[in-house]
Amino acid sequence: MDELTSVFVQESREQLAEMEAGLLRLEQDPHDADNINAIFRAAHTIKGASGVIECGFIESFTHKVENILDKLRNGEISVSGPLATLLLECCDHMGRLIDVLEAQQAQPPEDVSNQGEALQVRLTDFLSATEAPPAEEPGAMPIEHESPVEISGGGVVITDGWHISVRFGPNVLRGGMDPLSFLRYLASLGEILGMETIPDSMPEAEEMDPESCYLGFEIHFQTRASKADIERVFDFVQDECELRILPPNSKISEYLKHIEELPEDNMRLGEMLVRCGALTQAELDEALRQQAALTNNEDAGITEGDATEGHQAPQLGEILVEQKVVQKTLVDAAVGKQAQVTEKKAKESRMIRVQADKLDQLIDLVGELVIAGASTNLLANRSGQTELVEATSILSRLVEDIRDSALQLRMVQIGETFNRFHRVVRDVSKELEKNIELQISGGETELDKSVVEKIGDPLMHLVRNALDHGIEPAAVRMATGKPVQGHVALNAYHDSGSIVIEVSDDGGGLKKERILAKAIEKGLIQQGYNLSDQEIVNLIFEPGFSTMEKVSNLSGRGVGMDVVRRNIQSLRGTVDVTTQEGIGSTFTIRLPLTLAIIDGFLVSVEQASYVIPLDTVVECIELNDQPDNKHYLNLRGEVLPFLRLREIFGIEGEIPFRENVVVVQFAGQKAGIVVDQLMGEFQTVIKPLGNIFKHLRGIGGSTILGSGEVALILDVQALVQHCANQEENRKRNAGHATRLLESR
C-alpha cells in the first residue's frame, strides 16, 4: 500500500471515530450545533480525502452521508433516534469500506456493497422525507435574528445588491476631484440600480462655500466586481470621504463559504476577512488604527488611575461590526474558523506521530544500554578506582532515567479504549431493552501501548457481562427500588507500579449460593469445603464455569471468565471480583505498567543463571534430605509437586550439598522449582527469544546480566503445567505398578 493510502486509512479511521463519538453525543444533545458541525466536518474530510486518493467507492458513499449531515446542519431535518442509528450504521459501513481499501481490493465484495446500497436507500428515504412541505418543527434549529445592518443616514438594505454609502469630504473639489466622475467610473464596473443624493451636511446658503463639497450618496449597485474593486474606485478620495460598502446577502453566504475553505494557517481575524473578500485592506487598516487608538486611550486611562479594571481593549471584530463594515455573521464565522485552526494547530504541535516499531527499536537500544551500563558498573567496582566508580554510578543513574523516559514514550492513555464502549453500551442496552448509562473516569491514565492493545478483548467481555448479567431488567430494578437507569462504570488509576482498571455495575451482584452450588455441581470444589466469600465469587474465573442457564447471544458465547483471566494473566496481570448482592459487582484488573521490564528473581543452577518473574514467587525454602526420585514435598501439610531445573534442562554436574526450592504460584496452582542458589531480586529488561527457540517449553525469554552473561527467563506457567502433568503421570504409573503387584 502506498504511503498516501496508508495515511488516508489512518486519518479516516480517526475521523470516523470522531464522527461516531459525535453521533453518540448527538443523541444526548440534539441541538448542539458545534457537535453537528464536527460530525459533518469529519464526513467531509473523509470524502475529500477519498477523492484525492481516487477511491470512488468510499467517496460516493460518504458523499451521501455528507448530504444528509448537511441537511442536519442546516436544520432542514432534525435529529431522531432512527436517524442517529442509521448514521451510526453508515459509520460502520464506512469503516468496512476503509477495510476494503486497506486490504487493497479494487472494489468492495458483494455483501459489503449490498449493505452499502441498502444504507443508501435508507438515506434517500430520509432525504426525500425532508422535501415534503417544510413544516416548522418545534425545536428545530433556532434562527438567530440578525439585526439588519444599518447605514448612517440611509435606509436598510432590502434587495440583493451592493449598497455603497459615500460621504465626500469638503476638500474633494479643491483637490481636483469631481464626485460625479467617481460615480460615472463606478457605473463602468456594473449597474447603478438606484441612487440617492444626501445633502444633509449642506449649510445655509450664506454659510455655504461654493468651493467645498457637501454631498453624500447612497448607491444601490449591481456588479460582479469584488468589494476591493469597488473600493478602488474611491481610492483617490479615501482619506477625505466616509465610505461603506455592504455586500449583497448572496455575497455573505459566499464569504462564509470562503472562510470555511480558507487554508488552515494561523491567520489573524482581519486577514481572514480580507482573504475571503468581505473586508478590504483599507477598511482593515482603518479598524486597526481605531483599535490602536482605543487601546492607547485605555493605557492613558490606567496611568491616570481611573480606568475600570479588567476592561479589555476592544476586539477587532467588535469594531468592525460596530462600524457596520462587516456583518456579525461573518465575524463570527471567521472567529470560529480561527478557533478551529488554533485548536488543531495546538493539537498537532502537541503530538508527533512516530511509527511504533521505531519506538520499539529505541526501547530495545535502551535495554542494551541498561545492560551495558550494568557491566560497566561491575567492572568499575571490580577495579576499585573510586573516581571511576563514581563516574559510572552517575552514568547508570542517567541510564535509568533514560530507560524510564523511553518507556514513557510507549505509554498511551486508556481513554480511547474506554470510549469505544460508549457504542457497545448503547447498542447492547438497546438490544436488551435496558436503560444503561456508561460512566468513564480515569481515561487519562497511561499504560503501555501493547497492554492497551491486548486489554480490549477482556474488557469487552467484562462490560458485556455487566450489561447482560449484571444490570437487571428494568422491572426488577423498579421492584427493588433502584433507579430504572442502570450504571456501568469504567475506571482506571495507577497504584504502586501497576495500573488498575475497574469495571463496575450497580446491578444484582453475584449470588454466592448459586456460584457455590454450581462449583460443586461442576466438581470444581468438594462439598463441605470451607471457602471465604471472596474465594467463592472468584470461582467464576475457574475453567468451565458459567451460571447463566440460558446462553444469550451477547456474553456466554462459550467463552467463559476463565478466558478473561487467562488473557489478563498473559499480560502478567490479575483479575478479581468483589460483589455485594443486590448492590452490584466490581471487577478489578491489575496490570503491570509495561511488558518490557520485569522484576525478576535471579537463581542459578551450576554456572547458568535463570530469572523467575517475581510476581509468581511465593516463598523460598531449603530442600532437605530429599530422595532424588520423589517429585513432591510436604509444605506445611500440603503436597507440593516440584521439578528440578537440573533435570528439565539436562544440566550435568554434581548436585550441591544444599539445594533450594522456589515456591511459585500461577493461576492458583503452586509448584516448586529446585535450584542450586538463590541470588535475589533483580530488575531486568526482557529480550524475546528468537523464532528458532519458539518451541522450547519452560523458557519465556532472556535477559543479559551485568556481567554480560545471558540469563533465561523461566516461563512459570509452562513449568507449573509440567509439574501438574508429571504428578498425574506419577499417579497413573503408581496405579499401574500396584496392579502389576496384585496380578503376581
Partner: protein, 121 residues
C-alpha cells in the same frame, strides 16, 4: 477634445504616454522638467489634467503640484502623479500638496486610461 499636460524628465516616458493618450483621443502638452511646466502654467496654458512625475532633477513634482494649485485657474484641475513607490508617505505628501490621485509605474495602457477616466470627464 481634452488636453493632458505631461511632465517627466524621461523622454521615453513622455513619448510612450503621449502615444497612448493620442491613440485614446486626447491632446497632449509636454514638458521635460518642472520649471518649464510651471512657466507654461503661469502663462495660462489650457489643459484638463496634469500628469507629473515626482522625482525630477531641479524642482520636484510635489513642489510643482503645490505651485500649480496656488494658481486660481487650476484650483479644481485634476492632478495625477506618477510614482514607482507604493509608499504611503510619498502619496500622502503629494496628496497634501494638492494632487488628486496617482498612477503607479509601470502602468499598462488600460490602467493609465482608466485612471484618467476616473478624473477627467
Amino acid at each position: 477634445m481634452k488636453t493632458i499636460f505631461l511632465v517627466d524628465d524621461s523622454a521615453t516616458i513622455l513619448l510612450s504616454i503621449s502615444n497612448i493618450l493620442s491613440k485614446a483621443g486626447y491632446a497632449t502638452e509636454k514638458a521635460g522638467n518642472a520649471e518649464e511646466a510651471l512657466k507654461r502654467f503661469n502663462a495660462g496654458v489650457k489643459v484638463d489634467l496634469l500628469i507629473t512625475d515626482l522625482n525630477m532633477p531641479g524642482m520636484n513634482g510635489i513642489e510643482l503640484i503645490k505651485e500649480v494649485r496656488k494658481l486660481p485657474a487650476y484650483k479644481f484641475m485634476p492632478i495625477l502623479f506618477l510614482t514607482t513607490e507604493s509608499q504611503q508617505s510619498r502619496k500622502l505628501e503629494a496628496k497634501a500638496a494638492g494632487a488628486s490621485g496617482w498612477i503607479v509605474k509601470p502602468a499598462t495602457a488600460d490602467e493609465l486610461l482608466n485612471t484618467i477616466k476616473l478624473v477627467v470627464r
